[in-house]
């Protein structure tokens, strides 16, 4: 038999927990990082890379503001690769001499399609979506696409 006093005490406890949860949720929502407003032409938004014809097959072009590399493969297809190493997040430079991305931090390296050439990187460089508009290459940097291996279907063709 639960007394009235005990019932009220339990009610208080439940109310206390609810109040704590509400406060926690409010603080959580307040602190949670907002998605930055997509900035046209910079990292986080859609970057206009340039006309298709301005990228020669077999070249890698760095876009510092967009934080990616635009790779034009020998067969004319395009890949936009994140410059962030998949190991621990260092910025990987492209070496024209060795024709690979070599991470200076922990010696991972990636081929021109972003595939892992040497560990410790666990997966290929992330991709960004490449689209073509009136013969102009555009790269959507709002979402980094992770992948386990390079596949032909990842290559965009204008």
């Amino acid at each position: 038999m639960v007394t009235r006093r005990e019932t009220l005490r339990r009610l208080w406890r439940v109310l206390g927990i609810v109040a704590l949860a509400e406060t926690g949720a409010a603080v959580g929502i307040y602190l949670w990082p907002r998605k930055p407003k997509p900035r046209e032409g910079a990292y986080g938004g859609v970057v206009t890379a340039g006309p298709v014809g301005s990228f020669d097959p077999g070249t890698v072009t760095a876009f510092a503001k967009g934080q990616f590399y635009l790779v034009r493969l020998k067969d004319g297809g395009f890949l936009a690769l994140s410059r962030r190493c998949t190991h621990l997040g260092c910025t990987v430079p492209w070496s024209e001499v060795d024709r690979k991305f070599a991470c200076p931090c922990h010696a991972s390296s990636f081929g021109e399609t972003g595939e892992v050439l040497s560990a410790p990187a666990p997966r290929p460089l992330d991709l960004y979506r490449v689209t073509f508009e009136d013969g102009v290459v555009r790269v959507d940097t709002s979402v980094a696409i992770t992948r386990d291996r390079f596949e032909r279907s990842q290559v965009a063709r204008g």
């Binding site: 990082p33 931090c105 922990h106």
Partner: protein, 415 residues
């Protein structure tokens, strides 16, 4: 008034035996003094520091070139913080090896673990604030490790960084954590920590193996204890002051998110983890190992007081076991690092990654088993041996990571 406050924090009388310096080595007290020094220098540094991506680096550089006493103040803060972490870790070793974590001290052991985490968190969040190349990439790498936590890793990483990458939001988050949140929680928990020491009737009373656990005669805390504390405090301040005159806290070039330095290293206290990442699958290093460590540490304290409380390493046999375990831990992990460098790389993958983990665990377990057999160690001594081996192993990995890893994280000589 200060005198009255200090006297109030102490009991009126303390066991004469407990005054012996080789019981606690004054580690807890020194850590407290450093926390006070860090609060003081921290408040002063706040007057000079500008917590923004544009202004942070210049405001820290100005400490060296424009602000009178600025660099000295920063040196005190930096070296004091590093020393605090070392002292807190040694304090923890002392508590474990004198069996001072069981019975009525169990709750305080947990509080102490939380304080260790807070001191590490304080060091880590402060590391980013100068916003130079070293701190930027160290924090990028350290928070990059979170990426390997299955399921919620990205979520945790985004929360801590305030976005996809270390940037504006990260700096303001770390600044608030460093200057407000961690200090407030730390000071509150310190109060609980000291109260619980008092509740457990002070520190353990030291005794030689075989000596009865008799508390012995009591003496007045003032001046017997307070004078010893005063001397320790003065020596510590003198050492830190001289170190801060001689050595400047490092400041590299301003942070450049487009250019990673070679090699990029985490702060020294995380280099043991980064070293492990070179050898093991990330899931073990970032999830399994820390979870296991927390679980074992929390469960290390027993409900009833150990009969060997106050005896270093529980017995003279225990001393032998612990020393050998520490030597074995350091030597075996050093040898394993060199061996892994010689052996060819295994293909990456969780299942393949299990092999080196099982091998390492097997070797560790076998070594401790042999040690137990050879020395006839009790259960308490054996758990001390595990603790010593793990601590020595992490120490060795830290030394290798900090001093013996060069460009591309390849093994090199430090000279």
């Amino acid at each position: 008034m200060l005198r009255a406050l200090i006297l109030h924090l102490h009991p009126k009388v303390v066991p004469e035996k407990a005054l012996r310096f080789s019981l606690t080595f004054g580690l807890g007290g020194m850590a407290l003094l450093l926390v006070l020094l860090l609060l003081g220098t921290g408040v002063l540094l706040l007057f000079a520091y500008e917590p923004s991506v544009e202004g942070a680096y210049d405001s820290v550089a100005a400490l060296r070139y424009d602000v009178p006493m600025g660099q000295f103040l920063r040196n005190l803060h930096r070296w004091g913080a590093n020393l605090a972490l070392v002292l807190v870790a040694l304090h923890m070793l002392r508590v474990v090896f004198t069996g001072a974590l069981h019975g009525p001290r169990r709750g305080n052991w947990i509080v102490g673990l939380a304080l260790l985490v807070l001191v590490a968190a304080s060091n880590f969040t402060g590391y980013l604030l100068p916003w130079d190349q070293v701190s930027y990439w160290a924090v990028t790498i350290s928070t990059g490790m979170l990426d390997y936590v299955p399921g919620i890793g990205r979520f945790l990483q985004r929360g801590l960084r305030g976005g996809d990458e270390v940037g504006r939001r990260t700096l303001s988050t770390f600044f608030v954590l460093h200057a407000v949140f961690v200090p407030v929680v730390l000071v509150a928990l310190l109060a609980v920590h000291f109260w619980l020491v008092r509740k457990a009737k002070g520190v353990v009373v030291p005794r030689a193996p075989g000596e009865s656990p008799d508390r012995g005669p009591m003496v007045a805390a003032s001046p017997n204890l307070t004078r010893r504390e005063g001397v320790t405090a003065l020596v510590l301040m003198a050492v830190l002051g001289v170190a801060s005159v001689l050595a400047d806290a490092p400041l590299a070039g301003p942070a450049n998110p487009g250019l990673s330095p070679n090699p990029a290293k985490a702060p020294w206290y995380f280099m043991g983890l980064q070293e492990l990442l070179i050898h093991f699958h990330p899931v073990f290093v970032v999830v399994v190992l820390p979870a296991l460590a927390v679980l074992l540490l929390v469960r290390a304290a027993k409900g009833t007081t150990s009969p060997a409380e106050g005896v270093w390493f529980a017995s003279s046999n225990g001393r032998r076991v612990v020393i050998w375990a520490a030597v074995a831990g350091a030597v075996l992990s050093g040898a394993a690092v060199v061996l892994d460098e010689i052996l060819p790389d295994l293909p990456s993958g969780l299942v393949v990654g299990l092999a080196p983990v099982l091998l390492a665990a097997g070797v560790a377990w076998g070594a401790i088993f042999l040690l137990k057999k050879a020395c006839g160690a009790s259960a308490e001594e054996a758990s001390m041996a595990w603790f010593a081996a793990a601590a020595a192993s992490y120490g060795m990995l830290t030394v290798i990571g900090v001093f013996f890893r060069g460009a591309g994280m390849a093994l090199t000589w430090p000279w």
